[in-house]
């Protein structure tokens, strides 16, 4: 056993001893006192196990990671069954049977044979697992790709391309803003110039030289500011998550706040 391992073992034993004393004194909940207490202790252990990766990879981290993956997969399967298959398929094809077996609220529906189509597509998708019938899954995949692409294209064109362009144009013209507001106009101009500069940077059919090159350099600055804002927000988001976990550890588990 090397020196580092001995040190960590000693630290671990001291921590366990301190926790045991605190539990004995009633300063912390007994992990075996109730299911809730056990859950709090388990959550604390898993949080610390995941955070231990910041020091270095270790078995506790790997245990927590594998547990998380396994639980997530199982949860997705159960949720998929109860929230998709039962109400959207069984409930549509055989409502009375589905209401007797699964959800009583499904009894009010009428059977709809159209839902045999998604059932068939679902079975075809599972054919990927078959060594000989794998090609049949392409029918279902083609349907998924086609509908998704169509749905997203329309949404993107209306909500993003059209309306976003319209918002930029109206903004710079100062229409519909009531009385003249210099500050508003200034920021609108900043936005429009920034949009054009960023677009110029991604325009590759003309060499980025001369005035065009300088304007596209401005586009790089716009992108850098955007990335900076993104980074700042990301830091805030991650720290917020850490604060949440620390609050749980100090409050629910250690009960020092």
């Amino acid at each position: 056993m090397n020196r580092q391992r001995v040190i960590w073992l000693a630290i671990g034993l001291i921590v366990i001893a301190v926790l045991a004393v605190r539990v004995a004194l009633g300063d912390m909940d007994n992990p075996f006192g109730s299911a809730r207490n056990f859950g709090v202790w388990l959550a604390a252990f898993l949080t610390l196990a995941i955070l231990s990766f910041l020091y270095k990879d270790n078995p506790c981290y790997r245990f927590a990671e594998h547990l998380f993956v396994g639980v997530s997969a199982a949860y997705w399967m159960v949720m998929g069954f109860w929230s998709t298959l039962v109400p959207n398929l069984f409930g549509k094809l055989a409502p009375k049977l589905a209401s007797q077996w699964f959800l009583s609220g499904l009894a009010t529906q009428r059977a709809n044979p159209v839902y045999l189509v998604p059932l068939v597509f679902g079975v075809l998708l599972l054919m990927r697992l078959s060594p000989k019938g794998g090609h049949l899954s392409r029918w279902a995949l083609a349907f998924i790709l086609g509908t998704t692409a169509g749905l997203r294209l329309i949404a993107f064109l209306t909500a993003d391309f059209m309306v976003q362009t319209q918002s930029t144009l109206v903004s710079v013209a100062g229409l519909g803003q009531g009385s003249f507001n210099f500050e508003r106009l200034f920021w609108d101009l900043v936005m429009v110039v920034a949009v054009l500069a960023a677009l110029c940077y991604f325009y590759f059919s003309k060499a980025h030289t001369g005035a065009f090159g300088r304007f596209s350099r401005l586009g790089v600055w716009v992108l850098m500011v955007t990335f900076g804002a993104g980074f700042g927000y990301t830091v805030m988001g991650r720290i917020a998550l850490l604060v949440g976990r620390i609050e749980e550890l100090l409050g629910l588990w250690l009960r020092v706040i």
Binding site: L54, Y55, Y75, W76, M79, G80, S83, T84, P87, N88, G91, L103, S104, G105, L106, A107, T108, Q109, T147, L151, R152, A155, F156, T158, A159, D160, V163, Q164, Q166, S167, T226, A229, G230, Y233, T234, V235, M236, G237, I239, A240, L241, L242, V243, G244, R245, I246, E247, L250, V256, I257
Partner: protein, 305 residues
């Protein structure tokens, strides 16, 4: 001078675990001491608050909870504040989730806020939980025109037609406001794209800080207000506290409490960013002064590479 450069070089090679330790200590100490700072509400947060405030009592508010426990520390204070505000104004709440674990988040609000603080509210008349529905933006596209095509029961298994709040509701176009709380895809962006813009329904959003820069372009035409991350939640709590003094109790001010550690940690991170840039600049100047070694393609960069 050599000693100074040696110290700077040591800082340049600083083990990143020291940074983790300092950040961790900053959060722990700020949480232990309960540091708290006042927040000044920004216009985007005030716009969400004002919209809820301006709706007449009994308005229908759709609350999509598209997040999971992974982002709960950031979004739950926001969700709690939204729900409290809507109830105080007498709005009717319709919960829905496009994330599987969003269902648990809804239950958390129902059990932790509504049942405890507003026990007089009746399920099915004042609020309803439509639960999780798989299908991402496809769900939004369908319920924009026909709610009952996809939602045959609520999250508790009751038939939709038996719920008074949903009796005369054909689709989500009759909602007065969509108040999306999201942590990613599908989320606020999809509610704007597939419901707000085509259905001309007012949409406001509360999202994780990471998402916020991607959603700002939708303001103000497609997104009447946006709350990005825990800071926006703290600003909302500040507004709520000013308007409704009963929410001044610390138990209602979770986001404001979390902004103390946030501020201290940001100071630590800013310090490390400045330190890193200063050491980098000093070392780069030092290397440029040194003569280039044989085989150095670009003088001054070889040592670092």
């Amino acid at each position: 001078m050599n000693r100074f450069i040696a110290t700077v070089e040591k800082l340049d090679r600083l083990d990143r675990r020291w940074v983790f330790l300092v950040v961790g200590l900053a959060v722990v100490l700020a949480t232990l001491f309960g540091l708290r700072f006042p927040e000044i509400p920004t216009p985007l947060v005030a716009a969400v608050f004002d919209k809820i405030e301006s709706l007449p009592a009994g308005s229908r508010v759709l609350l999509p909870f598209d997040y999971d426990p992974g982002t709960e520390p950031e979004l739950q204070p926001m969700a709690d504040a939204f729900v409290r505000h809507c109830i105080e104004k007498g709005h009717r709440l319709y919960f829905i989730a496009l994330w599987p674990l969003g269902q648990n988040m809804i239950e958390s609000v129902v059990n932790g806020v509504i049942s405890v603080e507003y026990p007089h509210l009746e399920y099915g008349r004042d609020y309803v939980d439509l639960g999780y529905k798989a299908g991402n933006e496809g769900v939004i596209a369908v319920i924009l025109t026909d709610l009952k095509k996809l939602f045959t029961t609520d999250a508790r298994g009751s038939a939709i037609d038996e719920i008074p709040m949903l009796a005369g509701l054909a689709n989500i176009q009759s909602f007065d406001l969509i108040l999306s709380i999201s942590a990613g895809y599908p989320g606020t962006k999809e509610w704007v794209q597939y419901a707000g813009t085509p259905g001309n329904i007012p949409v406001a959003g509360g999202c994780t800080a990471v998402q916020a820069p991607l959603l700002y372009p939708y303001h103000p035409d497609q997104l009447l207000g946006l709350m990005g991350g825990i800071k926006a939640a703290a600003e909302y709590e500040q507004l709520l506290m000013q308007k409704y003094p009963q929410f001044a109790d610390p138990s209602f001010l979770t986001a404001l409490a979390r902004m103390g550690p946030q501020t201290v940690t940001h100071l630590a991170i800013i310090f490390f960013i400045i330190l890193g840039n200063v050491t980098f600049t000093i070392l780069r100047r030092q290397r440029r002064r040194q003569p280039a070694g044989p085989g150095d393609a670009e003088p001054g960069r070889g040592a670092r590479a």
